[in-house]
């Protein structure tokens, strides 16, 4: 069965109606990967044995004629920061180059229980730290739409695999924009759920108060379907919420008429590329024509989001990454004679430049004499940013912005300037800090045929509304 453009519904019903087997689907995807991935670089590890075993289980079910679970036979890829039992998981880092997790991440386990077939593990920036996937310790990912350009990051492999039809859907993680920005750069759908909506158990931690797991897909309905599978309370993550999980896919049919959509001037200011602006403004016009009420709003502290983010995220990372010490798993430096030397050399040799930069920044911000000036200050401004959204959501049901100020940039273009790279996340980090949900959907192309993404932000646990707006826009064509 041809994997090109294949959606979850199409894959599942083809198997249910016995027009294809799960084995065919898996085989076709592996063939596509064998042909295409050498030039794209999306996959780091393939899990063929596990995939074929799972496909066999689905085909047995289908032959019996039993009703199939929601993701039956759907070939998926998993970002390499999500633990997969028995399948190498590196987080894009040399320090975990030979790590074989002894357990599955809850989101992955739920995907498989719903019938999904894990094809393999997807490339990403080391420990999800980056906006271009160039910080992977293994290899960069090339944007399938233009191989000289980055796919975005940090979930670059997850976005590229869906864009190149090397998976029907994938999972990624978002800490500062790492789902939405690559979705925008590669022209696919990327959904960041509300903090607490999806369990983080088995996600290799970067910044624990920000990290989310969410899907990439070819259309909005598929994102809704995957979210329905992975969302919900998990006793293994005390920050996962009890809030009931609606039937997201059914909610889509409610349409977008009558919804109030906010447009914040702060997201259309200096630094926004002209073509991106024109596309997003045209998309807002289309939403108006679909019956949405467009409401001008203001999020006055937005310009402080990047400084707040790069303190909070690096502080939390500096603490989370202490566990990589060469004792229990991963890489250990060979030449150390004392314990302290072993820790230092292991971390020196095992971590890449960006990870070390963030550990240093976070450690500095927490060190004696700087805690109040940096960490406490950033936490206070985080409150202000969150209040901005609380105020805005009194007036509107969703907020529409560009996902990224530009379309995909060239490989190497920003890799020498960390600050310029950080500013690529300017429209996405606010939602991570406030804990709200957001989705990026394609909304046009530049003259050079590069995808442009529109971001739709929603209230805590109100994924249904942003999915409805996104679906209505997508269906209007």
């Amino acid at each position: 069965m041809n994997p090109n453009g294949l959606t979850i519904d199409a894959a599942r019903s083809a198997i249910q109606e016995r027009k294809a087997t799960a084995f065919d689907l898996v085989d076709a995807h592996y063939e596509k990967i064998a042909h295409e991935d050498e030039k794209i670089g999306a996959y780091l590890t393939l899990s063929k044995e596990r995939a074929l075993e799972k496909a066999e289980q689905i085909d047995v079910l289908a032959r019996k004629g039993d009703p199939l679970p929601p993701l039956a036979g759907v070939p998926v890829g998993i970002k390499d920061v999500l633990c997969t039992r028995g399948v190498r998981t590196t987080a894009g880092s040399k320090i975990l180059g030979n790590f074989i997790p002894p357990y599955d991440c809850t989101a992955v386990a739920r995907m498989e229980s719903a019938g999904a077939i894990v094809l393999g593990k997807l490339n990403c920036d080391e420990f999800a730290m980056g906006s271009s996937n160039e910080n992977s310790a293994w290899k960069p990912v090339h944007n399938p739409r233009d191989l000289s350009r980055v796919p975005g990051g940090s979930s670059g492999g997850s976005a590229a695999a869906v864009a190149a039809d090397m998976a029907v859907a994938t999972l990624g993680s978002d800490t500062g924009g790492s789902i939405r920005q690559p979705a925008s750069f590669c022209g696919v759908v990327g959904l960041m759920p509300t903090y607490g909506r999806v369990s983080r158990y088995g996600l290799i931690a970067f910044a624990s108060s920000l990290d989310r797991i969410g899907p990439f897909s070819k259309n909005v309905k598929d994102a809704a379907t995957v979210l329905g599978v992975i969302a919900g309370r998990d006793p293994m993550d005390s920050t996962s919420a009890e809030t009931p999980v609606p039937d997201y896919a059914a909610e889509l049919n409610k349409g977008a008429r009558g919804l109030r959509v906010g447009v914040a001037k702060e997201y259309f200011g200096e630094g926004l590329d002209g073509e991106v602006r024109a596309s997003v403004e045209a998309a807002i016009q289309k939403l108006a024509s679909l019956g949405c009420e467009i409401v001008p709003i203001s999020l006055p502290h937005m310009k402080y989001a990047i400084p707040v983010y790069y303190i909070i995220a690096t502080v939390e990372a500096s603490s989370n990454l202490v566990r990589f010490d060469g004792v229990r798993y991963g890489y250990r430096a060979k030449d150390a004679r004392t314990l302290s030397q072993m820790y230092r050399r292991t971390r020196d040799q095992g971590f890449g430049a960006e990870v070390k930069r963030r550990i240093m920044l976070g450690t500095y911000a927490l060190s004696a004499g700087y805690y109040d000036a940096y960490y406490l200050k950033a936490q206070r401004v985080r409150t202000l940013l969150t209040r901005d959204f609380e105020e805005a959501f009194k007036q509107v049901d969703a907020i529409v912005t560009p996902t990224s100020p530009t379309a995909a940039f060239k490989l190497g273009e920003k890799s020498d300037d960390p600050l310029a790279m950080y500013l690529a996340d300017i429209y996405t980090v606010t939602a991570d800090l406030a804990g709200i949900c957001g989705i990026s959907i394609p909304c046009g192309e530049t003259k050079e045929k590069l995808p442009i993404g529109m971001q739709i932000l929603g209230k805590h646990f109100d994924e249904s509304t942003i999915l409805r707006v996104a679906h209505a826009y997508e269906q209007a064509g």
């Binding site: 607490g196 006793p235 400084p307 229990r328 070390k356 240093m360 500095y364 409150t383 969150t386 805590h460």
Partner: protein
């Protein structure tokens, strides 16, 4: 320049990193550039703004309670076997760079 070579050495020490000469030079440059941008936060008067550590504070919390009582929503009964079974010894050691089958092994800590 806010961050000096000396600061970088001190912080690298705290973070258990060694860093080469080149890395230290570059770190001084990068940290100064990033912290320069972060200093924009000082435009804001936040004296009366409470700090926010967790999004979970926004939901689930019983605001009528104080202290740990506020976070009871996230707690559960302790269970001896855990929610997942404990890892068997060999699986727990399987990823270790060095072990003797019972313990993780590390270089000598105390010189005699």
């Amino acid at each position: 320049m806010k961050v000096t070579e000396k600061d970088v050495s001190y912080v690298a020490d705290l973070a258990n990193l060694e860093l080469t000469e080149d890395e230290r030079t570059r770190m001084v440059r990068d940290l100064n550039s990033i912290l320069g941008h972060i200093d924009n936060l000082n435009e804001l008067d936040t004296a009366n703004v409470p700090p926010m550590a967790q999004v979970s504070e926004l939901y689930g919390v019983d605001r009528s309670k104080t202290g740990c009582e506020r976070f009871m929503y996230a707690s559960r009964e302790d269970v001896i076997e855990g929610l997942r079974k404990c890892l068997p010894h060999d699986e727990a050691l399987a990823n270790a760079p060095s072990s003797d089958g019972t313990y993780f092994k590390v270089p000598k800590v105390i010189e005699r």
